[in-house]
Subunit: 193 residues, 2 copies
């Protein structure tokens, strides 16, 4: 950010009066430009023992597999956003059946929200952001070709839940380890069971 979107003058990094952290502040009109985390919403679409995966046709992670998901838009609910992204990326009309997982990823300023969903019709097809879309048996998830940590964690939790035959809503945080890897810390899952 270099310029104020209200008046066009330059912005500078400083702590506004009464606040405790640096913001982008306009040097002319004083407008404070807040930046906030964004929400990513998506679906685990279930069809028998299969789930719908999309092979990405865009960067980042071109060619890797993901769950249909994307940024929540202004004016829509998280369920509406998850259903819209599933239609856009996987060409599938779905109905959400339950919230499934909330992940904070402070490192990248994102919060993920995945819903479980069912297909309203058997059709699906690759949208412009997907190279390929397919129903994958739960036992054949391409673990070494997944696009994002949030997708990996969601699918690992999903695998555990299906193994024990009971679904819970999961709520936690994905962090980067000093080693460079990632870890998932589940918060308070017992309260959600």
């Amino acid at each position: 950010m270099k310029f104020c979107n209200a008046c066009g003058a330059g912005v500078e990094r400083r702590i506004p009066p009464g606040e405790d952290r640096e913001r982008w502040v306009c040097s002319q009109c004083g407008t404070i430009h807040y930046e906030n985390p964004r929400m990513v919403v998506g679906c685990i679409v279930e069809e028998g023992d299969q789930i719908l995966l999309c092979k990405r046709a865009i960067e980042p992670r071109y060619g890797y597999w993901t769950l249909p998901a994307g940024f929540l838009e202004l004016g829509e609910s998280t369920i509406q956003g998850a259903v819209r992204e599933t239609l856009e990326e996987a060409g599938a009309r779905v109905q959400v059946t339950a919230p499934y997982a909330h992940f904070d990823i402070p490192l990248i300023g994102q919060a993920y929200l995945f819903y479980r969903a069912r297909m309203l019709s058997p059709e699906f097809s690759a949208g412009t952001e997907s190279l390929e879309v397919k129903l994958v048996p739960r036992s054949e998830i391409p673990w070494d070709q997944l696009a994002f940590q949030a997708v990996r964690v969601a699918l690992e939790l999903y695998r555990e839940d299906t193994t024990r035959g009971r679904f819970r809503m999961h709520h936690g945080i994905i962090m980067r380890e000093p080693s460079g890897g990632y870890s998932f810390e589940e918060h308070l899952a017992h309260d959600l069971a």
Copy 2:
């Protein structure tokens, strides 16, 4: 939004190539300025049969009662944000005990996330954004002096849960009715029980 924060030129409202909705796009450098919903995080702080309420010292809704809550910041988790807001607004050091409610409010581009929390020490005090902070018995919530619909809905659900002696996580959407009032539609609560 009038100017591009990357190059300072004017922005215009148009549909970028490959997209399906209008965005603010720079007329010079072409940067697309996405706008996304923001997350509000806060706590229902429980102390025996009382909860912690704050009387707002700022607009909007100056002088009305609220739960400690505010916008999630970049770099923090939703739990960290809820704990920080509780310290800032209510001067209370708390520990989150469980996620409690997720509300989408598409009308205003916000998603609320409330956690239940307990006090780590008995002290609390009004922060700069509060006129007064107090522990209020659950039976004495000032229903006609609450600041926001999200706070009202959270406290109504909380009252119901305490009446029946069991807490659930709640997940739903707050909408404006044609009459001008508000309604809450709970999604899929049975899956979270």
